[in-house]
């Protein structure tokens, strides 16, 4: 479950626009969702290989070139599917809390 949530979070960050690995991890860290960056790398690579993400290289002033990831059309569809599933799930859980 945790893995899936992290995946959804990464997709959501990318849904706002293209980002590179550290940027994504920064956003996740700010939301207290990610403790260490490392978790993200295998995830991004796997999602890229699955065709959800695409990337391009960009030169960096402070280090090696960075991989900027963006959602593919397929990734967008997955994100929407996961989003609605997530909303339904949260609603279900919350409905238990409230009743």
């Amino acid at each position: 479950m945790r893995k899936g949530v992290l995946e959804l979070c990464a997709l959501r960050v990318l849904g706002r626009g293209e980002a590179y690995a550290s940027g994504i991890s920064e956003a996740l860290k700010q939301a207290d969702l990610l403790v260490v960056e490392g978790t993200l790398y295998p995830l991004l690579t796997r999602m890229k290989n699955a065709g959800w993400l695409d990337y391009r290289w960009e030169e960096s002033k402070s280090g090696p070139p960075r991989k900027y990831y963006q959602l593919t059309e397929k990734g967008r569809i997955l994100l929407e599917a996961l989003n609605s599933e997530w909303t339904a799930f949260v609603d279900a859980v919350n409905s238990l809390k409230n009743s």
């Binding site: 550290s22 490392g38 978790t39 295998p42 280090g63 070139p65 960075r66």
Partner: protein, 521 residues
């Protein structure tokens, strides 16, 4: 003094302390081992190296850049220990534990939902949805529906209702629920994947319905399954009711109605004689009936669906609302019809007929004579006197035993016999015209026999509008009359000196006095 080592990390050159180099290379080696089972390991590793290079170049701002053990440790704490790279590293073990816990703790059907399967549809995907739900071949379901459709006609109606009531599986999560697969992220991903492979169609996500997923089951399993069992039982009961109701509507609309006493005439026909002529005819009545029944039918079906398949949603609520509105419409139509029929009973009209009686007769004999009816079907009703009254319907006429006989004294010298035809109508004139249409036979002969027909009759086109006949025999005081036993049911409040009941008067000889009849011995 420390020895430094030059390394190339992510395409960048770094000078590293020897011990820093040792720590970094063992870290990278540990990662390499940990990620052994991960797809695209080399790419992941090079990404990580690039990130470390980036971090190093931030730490060691000066030039030449020298990386210390502290720098390496800082980078490591940013990136995390190998085990922090998470379950990602052990995809196999995780998925197997997930699937085994599912199959043991929850039966497949539990999470299954009834949806229409648009991927495998001929018309609306209803059959495919059922096939998914019950894990049977869709061909079997289609054959069942076709058979129901052709032999009873009900399959078609059922199909249409289910079509409207069952949501289409739109989102990947719904598609999974339809096939009884858990809606895990992994499965959703697979479904989206398949979708891409199969069709290049775009999904309409905007309309994605929210489904309150059944929360994962907790401990009270026994009670839960008991409740579920009961729900299913009632679901079946409601479904059967709904089917019967639906079948009833169909029989009412298309069938010959319900046969009475093996007769070949339907209740519809009987009703047709009661309904007003013109716009408020049978078609109107059946339309209203069907409309009235649609609400309960749809409500029962939805309740059954909900109990059996745990379906609920906006679509169903809309459908139920529409059905209830139709029902209200049907009730209004019925009310209008009732008012119209009532209005046709508002006025009363009558026509009086006189019958010639032979001269020189002192003693009369009054008897009923059975009326010859060619063909026709008999119906029996209980009227308000708890007497059974019979109606016979032929192709174009209605025969009815609504005849009342009275005997009264007259001050005139000669006896007289008259019968009054009565009927109801929307106006006096209409009532009188209808009364004039009543045909009734009374026959006499020179010996004083009076034969009264036991049935009056009128045209079906006149409808049932309270047609009846009052027959009165006026006798001068001193004349006698014998009432045949068969008149018993027709005598109505005949006044007599001994206050005998009408039934007790038949079969006896009576003498007319100015107080009414007196028994003659």
């Amino acid at each position: 003094m420390k020895k430094t080592i030059d390394i190339n990390l992510g395409g960048m050159l770094f000078h590293m302390d020897e011990d820093a180099y040792a720590v970094l290379s063992s870290y990278l080696e540990a990662l390499r081992r940990h990620l052994a089972a991960t797809e695209g390991r080399e790419e992941v590793l090079s990404d990580i190296e690039a990130r470390i290079a980036e971090l190093f170049s931030q730490y060691a701002a000066g030039s030449p850049k020298v990386v210390t053990v502290l720098n390496v440790q800082a980078a490591m704490s940013t990136l995390g220990q190998p085990q922090d790279f998470g379950p990602e590293a052990e995809p196999a073990s995780e998925s197997s534990s997930e699937s085994s816990s599912e199959s043991s703790s929850e039966s497949k059907d539990r999470r299954r939902r009834l949806y229409r399967d648009a991927d495998d549809k001929v018309i609306g995907g209803v059959c495919a949805g059922f096939a998914n739900y019950f894990s049977i071949d869709v061909v079997v379901v289609r054959i069942v529906f076709l058979v129901l459709g052709f032999f009873t006609g009900f399959g078609f109606i059922l199909y249409l209702i289910l079509w409207a009531a069952t949501p289409k599986a739109v989102t990947p999560a719904e598609r999974l629920a339809m096939k009884g697969k858990p809606a895990t992220f992994e499965n959703i991903r697979q479904t989206v994947e398949e979708e891409f492979r199969n069709v290049e169609s775009k999904i309409n996500n905007a309309e994605s319905r929210r489904k309150v997923r059944n929360a994962s089951k907790s401990v009270g399993d026994f009670i839960a399954s008991l409740v579920q069992g009961l729900a299913r039982f009632f679901g079946m009961v409601f479904l059967v009711f709904a089917l019967l109701l639906g079948a009833g509507i169909l029989i009412a609309v298309f069938g010959n109605g319900i046969l009475q006493e093996d007769a070949q005439v339907s209740v519809i026909e009987l009703l047709g004689i009661f309904l007003p002529a013109g716009g408020f005819g049978k078609a109107y009545f059946w339309t209203a009936t069907v409309l009235v029944l649609i609400g309960p039918l749809v409500a029962l079906l939805l309740l059954a669906l909900r109990l059996l398949f745990r379906q609920q949603g906006l679509v169903q609520r809309g459908l139920l609302g529409a059905a209830l509105i139709l029902s209200v419409g049907g009730i209004v139509m019925m009310a209008l019809l009732g008012a119209r029929i009532g209005s046709e009973f508002r006025e009363e009209g009558s026509v009086v007929h006189s019958v010639l009686l032979p001269e020189q007769v002192q003693t009369w004999n009054l008897a009923m004579e059975s009326t010859a009816v060619m063909g026709g079907v008999e119906f029996n009703f209980n009227d308000d006197d708890l007497d059974e009254s019979s109606w016979i319907l032929t192709d174009d006429r209605v025969y009815y035993e609504g005849i009342e006989i009275d005997l009264r004294p007259t001050v005139r010298v000669k006896p007289s016999l008259e019968w009054t035809a009565e009927a109801q109508g929307g106006s006096r004139r209409a009532a009188r015209e209808r009364a004039g249409g009543i045909d009734f036979q009374v026959r006499t002969d020179s010996t004083g026999q009076i034969f009264v027909g036991d049935l009056l009759n009128y045209a079906k086109a006149d409808r049932f509008r309270g047609q009846r006949v009052q027959l009165t025999l006026y006798l001068p005081v001193g004349q006698r009359v014998h009432l045949d036993p068969n008149t018993s049911a027709y005598l109505k409040d005949v006044s007599n000196t001994s206050d005998a009941w009408d039934e007790d008067m038949a079969g006896r000889m009576w003498l007319m006095t100015d107080q009414g009849l007196a028994e003659f011995k």
